[in-house]
Amino acid sequence: MLTAPELLEFLPQTDCGQCGMTCADFAGLLLARDLSPADCPVLHEPEYAGFIEALEELLATAPAAGRGMAIDPARCIGCGICVAMCEHHLAQVPEARAGRGPGLGDRVIFRVVNGQVVVVNQELCVRLLQAAEKCSKCAEHCPTEAITLR
């Protein structure tokens, strides 16, 4: 599970305050998906080239702590029911609506890769955009209870 100290490793750790807080607090808000790596102006300096990308990658592969979803890979069988049932996909991804797998270019919240669900755009989740009680369709329909929403 991704933690704030791991994210802190990729921040300047100078506590310069340009973002209005300390680096550690900034890391905490990154983890909660309240800020994104590009919000740190210092990271845009040439000296930190690649750091923003590294942070984004870390955040993309790890489920959001506190909010968002966690998938238990030991349980997931890749049936794709969650992909078809997702409220966001229903409106935005016609392939998933029809029960088919989304295309490589489709902007999905999660997709099945190598037999397992991976989260790719957590921030699109209705729970994060609106309110947690608005949706829990993916977790409700997972036959193996592999999805935990927080």
Partner: protein
């Protein structure tokens, strides 16, 4: 490795999903939209155990005094031909998890050896096709069912384990033409020995005692036709469930294939559907799981005119056997497209070993049959490393395409060479 390949067909199970996107990642293949079952085939891992690698059979071998000796393909073929030629009651077994060309080659080998050809899922699929030939059972494509079926019953089948994307793509969650709201426009029921994961989506879930399926099918029919009152638990609930459908489908799984009553059960399901039919459209399909099971029966029906196991022991045309093979009579085996020693009960395995029945195995994996084989010949993965043809669960033929270089010849080539060397 070029690519990416979009809309690739998965050779993982009889759904033959056609929406896989394959891209290169870290020097290997990354498969999008494939379930854990199919992924195991692409990544060479154990089914549902993604971390555990599944070993490939890499070189031909013959066994001498219990030891495996790697030999040339020619030497292995010669030894295989000799062992099979010596046998009085050879059996060609499996063929459900291999392509149509391989099946055709295997049928030619069986004919030449005067052997019996035994499909791995004879007890499930043959009764179904027999019922299709004799009773008025209607058949529909998975797309028609996706678009129209509002009532789905799985009997003796858990698709989440045999065809993991069945519910998603076709029967429950997919939104089709007249099922626009997907799961909300459909009702689901299941009958099984144990409560399965399916239960959470079911309006009706009936647990049936082992061997009691036939009685239950007849009881449901009795309730529907008003002929009898239910005496079997679950019959009324199932009858009500079916009665309220407009377009329905019953998927029959391995649970109905156990024992000697399989044909009677399919006939009874045919009767049940007949009672439902005047006012509704109802279909019956077997839930085949091996990726080209339907192709094998297509071959048997078009070439020989019967779905039962053809036995060339008494000449050609063959005698058709509806009873599963009696293993105690078998004295040589050619196995391809199934892991026989994984399917057999322990007792039978021991008997075959004790009698030193020679086994010739042709296939891509180091499976239990290869572990017991007197001769083994590696084959490429169909639909991943070589081209093949396969028939989807509902009988639709598709062309499987290769994306990786083959480390071994295709199974149909190996079998054709075996035939040539034997003739």
């Amino acid at each position: 490795m070029p690519g990416p390949w979009e809309s690739h067909i998965c050779p993982g199970c009889a759904c033959l999903c056609d929406d896989l996107d394959l891209v290169e990642a870290d020097g290997g293949l990354q498969a999008h939209n494939v379930c854990a079952w199919g992924s195991a085939k692409f990544l060479g891992s154990k089914k549902f155990h993604p971390g555990q690698p599944r070993r490939r059979l890499t070189a031909p071998f013959v066994r001498r005094r219990g030891r495996r000796e790697e030999v040339s393909p020619e030497a292995a073929l010669a030894q295989a031909a000799e062992l099979l030629a010596r046998a009085r009651r050879p059996v060609v077994f499996g063929l459900t998890a291999c392509g149509s060309r391989a099946q055709e080659a295997a049928l030619a080998v069986a004919r030449h050896l005067r052997a019996r050809l035994e499909p791995a899922d004879l007890n499930l699929m043959a009764p179904y096709y027999q019922a299709l030939l004799t009773a008025e059972i209607h058949h529909a494509s998975l797309e028609v069912l996706r678009d129209e079926a509002d009532t789905v019953l799985y009997w003796g089948a858990n698709p989440l384990h045999s065809c993991p994307r069945h519910l998603t793509r076709y029967t429950v969650f997919a939104r089709g033409r007249f099922t626009e709201r997907g799961v909300e426009d459909r009702r689901l029921a299941a009958v099984d020995l144990h409560r399965t994961e399916l239960a959470r989506f079911c309006q009706v879930f009936v647990r049936v005692a082992p061997g009691a399926d036939l009685e239950l099918i007849r009881a449901v029919q009795g309730v529907l036709s008003g002929a009898s009152r239910a005496t079997v638990t679950g019959a009324v609930r199932l009858a009500e469930f079916l009665r309220h459908g407009e377009v329905g489908v019953i998927f029959a799984g391995r649970g109905l294939a156990v024992g000697a009553e399989a044909l009677a059960r399919f006939a009874a399901l045919g009767d049940l559907i007949r009672v439902l039919r005047p006012a509704r459209r109802f279909f019956l399909l077997p839930l085949a799981s091996d990726f080209n099971s339907a192709g094998l029966y297509h071959l048997l029906l078009t070439r020989l005119g019967s779905p039962w196991a053809p036995d060339f022991g008494e000449g050609d045309p063959p005698v058709f056997r509806s009873q599963p093979v009696r293993w105690e009579e078998v004295d040589a085996l050619l196995v391809t497209g199934a892991d026989l020693f994984w399917l057999l009960p322990e007792e039978t395995r021991r008997d075959l070993t004790r009698r030193q029945v020679p086994v010739v195995a042709v296939g891509p994996w180091e499976d239990r049959t290869v572990a017991r084989a007197a001769v083994a010949l590696p084959a490429a993965l169909e639909g991943i490393e070589v081209e093949e043809v396969a028939y989807r669960q509902d009988g639709i033929p598709v062309c499987l395409r290769p994306v990786l270089p083959p480390p071994a010849p295709a199974a149909h080539q190996v079998l054709t060479q075996l035939l040539e060397i034997s003739s």
